[in-house]
């Protein structure tokens, strides 16, 4: 198998169950949640602060402000000059970065365990005391525009995904790209950023995760000292986003771009996400995605379309349930050369139809469960990705308990559960179907 070049929506390893490290939790008086994950194999620690705010919380017309603010957090405070935060991390042998999604914004540093307190000092400082000049803001906005240029505008696949995503939601702000629409990024300013910052960057909207070679009592004492004195936002709004109306009609997109060399077809269905105390349907969908399209050589779609009919070069199914409001279940098929996209789409639908008739292969089902059991063991080797998964879970409405019982819920899924999920999910009125190809394509004209 050659690693494939079509980048999909899914995160690698989303199925990864969690168990692993010793976990201790606290809540500070100002409402800040603290999670400590112990891993004493190496004298290293990861320090993360997750804010329960993301691109889906932006004021209308200000798309990209959550991500832009993430950039500006590196521009200095009352105590730190622009760039000094990262420079200090570097001088201490560490690395740092940050990321923004629809539901969260997170900042992290990876350093030697004895530098933890320095990280806390600086991260606590920039939770409330951000300062930046107008010139810094304008220059950084250019950087973000270049980031959009690089990640989206230079990549036809990314432009296509942006359009598909916008069509998936009729009312919910998940339709907006995280980085923002270009015309709106161009107008973002210092006041927008500060308004967003002052409202959402507060201890009662944040989760501290410290993972690595640390003792929970030490972390708590340090957190109390550095984050404890920070005042909460008293009128923090509840995270209620617009709800989708019933979706009554399939949406279809056909995107052409001369930079596309490999046409493909994809479809995504609006799906339920993992919810607090209620993850059963999400577990069923997770297993369905693994069965249908988890591995090219052993999955249902791979066997049918890559091996039996050889109509596909690559085929996949995905589902990512960690999301505050909605999730999607998706299918992708890259057809063999010369095959029109309509024919590919029909073949994909036919294969799914056959699966609905034939049901689950018990041996394949057992293999997937074995792999999930093994992933709990392999997963313990990477404390950073474990910590990250807890951060995503906790900012998308789950509890520690929900995250911890997830592997058991996956193991409890039955073949009947999977078929029930399959019969429900494939409803085209909830779906967006997309074709991507070069402009003058036989795929479309014939």
């Amino acid at each position: 198998m050659i690693r494939f070049v079509v980048y999909l929506f899914t995160l690698a390893g989303t199925i990864l169950p969690l168990n692993a490290a010793e976990i201790t939790t606290f809540t500070l008086d100002n409402g800040m949640d603290v999670v400590v994950m112990e891993d004493h194999r190496a004298p290293v620690v990861v320090h993360m602060v997750w804010y329960r705010v993301g691109a889906a919380d932006e004021p209308s017309g200000k798309s990209g402000i959550a991500h832009f603010l993430e950039h500006l957090l590196f521009k200095g405070t009352d105590d730190l000059d622009a760039g000094e935060f990262s420079a200090t991390v570097s001088r201490n042998g560490g690395s740092d970065n940050a990321f923004t999604s629809w539901d969260y914004t997170a900042y992290f540093q990876r350093v030697a365990a004895d530098r933890l307190e320095l990280m806390m000092t600086m991260e606590a400082d920039r939770m409330r005391d951000l300062q930046m000049t107008e010139a810094d803001v304008i220059t950084e906005r250019d950087v973000v525009l270049e980031e959009r240029n690089q990640r989206t505008d230079s990549d036809p696949g990314a432009l296509f995904r942006e359009q598909l995503n916008a069509a998936q939601y009729l009312n919910h702000p998940y339709s907006i790209p995280i980085i923002g629409w270009r015309h709106e990024i161009e107008q973002l300013n210092r006041d927008d950023a500060f308004a967003f910052y002052q409202r959402y960057y507060a201890p009662n909207n944040a989760i501290l995760i410290v993972a690595g070679d640390v003792e929970p009592t030490d972390v708590l004492a340090m957190a109390k000292q550095h984050y404890g004195p920070i005042a909460p936002t008293v009128d923090l709004p509840e995270r209620v986003r617009p709800v989708e109306p019933p979706q009554l009609s399939e949406r279809r997109l056909s995107y052409s771009d001369p930079r596309v060399a490999q046409p493909y077809v994809t479809r995504s269905y609006l799906a339920p996400e993992r919810n607090l105390g209620d993850q059963k349907v999400a577990a069923n969908l997770t297993m369905l995605a693994a069965l249908l399209g988890g591995n090219g050589a052993t999955s249902v779609l791979g066997q049918k379309l890559q091996f039996e009919t050889q109509q596909a070069v690559y085929v996949s199914a995905y589902y990512q349930g960690m999301s505050l409001d909605y999730a999607t279940f998706g299918l992708v098929m890259v057809p063999s050369p010369g095959q029109p996209l309509q024919q590919a789409e029909d073949a994909m639908d036919q294969a799914v139809g056959e699966f609905l008739d034939e049901g689950v292969d018990p041996e394949q089902f057992a293999r997937i469960k074995m792999r999930l059991r093994a992933e709990r063991i392999y997963g313990e080797d990477n404390i950073v990705s474990l910590a990250r998964r807890y951060g995503i879970g906790l900012t998308t409405g789950l509890t520690i308990e929900d995250i911890q019982v997830w592997p058991d819920i996956l193991q409890s899924v039955t073949e009947q559960d999977v078929m029930e999920a399959a019969r429900t999910i494939f409803d085209k009125s909830n779906a967006v179907t997309g074709w991507i190809s070069p402009p003058i394509s036989k795929d479309i004209s014939q």
Binding site: F4, G93, V111, D142, A297, R371, Y378, D381
Partner: protein
């Protein structure tokens, strides 16, 4: 994300490693050597195998054969067809990753303690008895071709292929290891079998393991897994002739943002000045927002989301290279700033403060590389290929700290050669013309 990690295309650059782990040098009863770190707290093992001389061993006219061969190892072996092999692997919950790099064939495996014997038997089948069935060849060939078609309209790939061709000409480094549409289409089963025979040999094998396994168990495992591999393989290749001269090459491509690859000849890993060069690169264009190039091109001027450089000491050629992307209207300014910085560092080296901070960073960051069985195993196999001993782990920070400002000035003059700096720009760059 506020920054992307710079993608390094020439992989397998040895990264030095550090102290906290206890490395054992193991020799199997059959004479196969390995480095081992025992870590019994999690019941699995990460195993890394490298065979020196990867895709560079492609013979003339058969470019892409070794890459295609590597992609076929898991597509049927012994009694198992492609799907049967994948099913067996899933049943054992093991993972095998096969990749052909320019300088090495790499196999990364992880397996549970509870079924280690079966997992190793399965892995051995894929190395020793791959089927290379015609259907499988044709199916994987289509995957490769699909990738090559996508590369043809990908500005990054166009820039890289152009830069490599101009730099290394007809040497294997001068072409894409995945081959061309023509060469891949022409590959026969015999070519794949020959590629397999060329690559797998014990005289170029490096092994490391980290995890829930003892030295004795590893010895037995290696003899079983690797003992039947032929003693010798294809002769390794000659050092490549460096052919690039200073200048700018523009490849027109309709896209809003230009990508520029730039660089010139570099320094070998075993050069006495390598550590000084490594420090220089770290300050100049290494990781972090605070490298000179990031400060000048991004932080001060907002010309890019990311700019960086790295040393590429490959087995048969060495480069100092970097990459930047800017809007078509602004790439000319990015190039100008990079050229100025190149001249500046060549003339003046680093400040005392920059050197001190870089030392603090590099020595402090060293132990952080030990995060997990698989990463440690990869680092250890890389060290062996680079010819470093186990003692390097203890000495590495001393080597960094020993570099003086005088060394830095001297090596900066040697490493950074503004007159030889070449940019390959793909896009519709305003105000950038071909030169030389």
């Amino acid at each position: 994300m506020i920054r992307l990690i710079l993608m390094i295309w020439m992989s397998l650059i040895a990264v030095p490693l550090q102290a906290a782990v206890e490395v054992q040098e193991v020799t199997s009863p059959g004479g196969i050597k390995a480095w081992l770190v025992e870590e019994h707290s999690i019941p699995f093992t990460a195993l890394e195998l490298r065979f020196r001389g990867g895709a560079v061993l492609d013979i003339t006219g058969k470019r892409g054969a070794i890459n295609l061969m590597a992609g076929l190892l898991e597509e049927g072996a012994g009694e198992l067809d492609s799907q049967g092999f994948s099913q067996a692997r899933e049943t054992l919950a093991t993972s095998f990753d096969y990749r052909a790099f320019d300088d090495a064939m790499s196999i990364s495996a992880r397996f549970l303690t509870e079924n280690r014997g079966e997992a190793v038997s399965l892995l051995k089948t894929s190395i020793m008895q791959p089927t290379f069935g015609q259907d499988d060849i044709d199916r994987v060939r289509e995957q490769v071709l699909s990738g090559l078609r996508s590369d043809a309209t990908d500005p990054d790939e166009i820039a890289r292929n152009t830069f490599d061709k101009m730099t290394w000409g007809n040497h294997a480094y001068g072409s894409n290891r995945n081959g061309t549409v023509e060469s891949v289409n022409a590959l026969s089963r015999e070519d794949i079998v020959a590629a397999h025979r060329a690559v797998f040999a014990r005289d170029r094998l490096y092994v490391s393991a980290v995890g829930d396994i003892t030295a004795q168990e590893l010895g037995v495992l290696m003899d079983k897994l690797l003992g039947d591999i032929p003693a010798t393989g294809a002769p390794l290749v000659e050092h490549a002739d460096y052919q690039l001269t200073g200048g700018i090459t523009v490849i027109p491509f309709d896209t809003p943002q230009s990508v520029a690859l730039f660089g010139h000849v570099g320094i070998t890993r075993d050069d006495p000045d390598f550590v000084a060069a490594y420090i220089l690169n770290e300050v100049f264009g290494g990781n972090g927002l605070d490298s000179r190039l990031m400060v000048e091109v991004r932080e001060k001027r907002g010309l890019t989301y990311g700019v960086g450089t790295y040393l590429a000491p490959m087995d048969y050629g060495e480069l100092v290279v970097g990459q930047v992307r800017s809007d078509n209207s602004r790439i000319a300014e990015s190039i100008e700033v990079i050229k100025q910085e190149w001249e500046k560092i060549a003339e003046t080296g680093l400040t005392a403060n920059e050197l001190d901070e870089a030392k603090t960073y590099l020595t402090g960051a060293y132990p952080l590389r030990f995060d997990g069985n698989a990463p440690i195993a990869r680092i250890m196999v890389g060290m062996q290929m680079t010819g470093l001993g186990v003692d390097y782990i203890a000495n590495r920070n001393d080597l960094v700290n020993a570099v003086t400002l005088e060394d830095i000035r001297r090596v900066a003059k040697r490493i950074y050669q503004p007159e030889n700096l070449h940019f390959v720009v793909v896009g519709q760059p305003d105000g950038v013309q071909n030169s030389n």
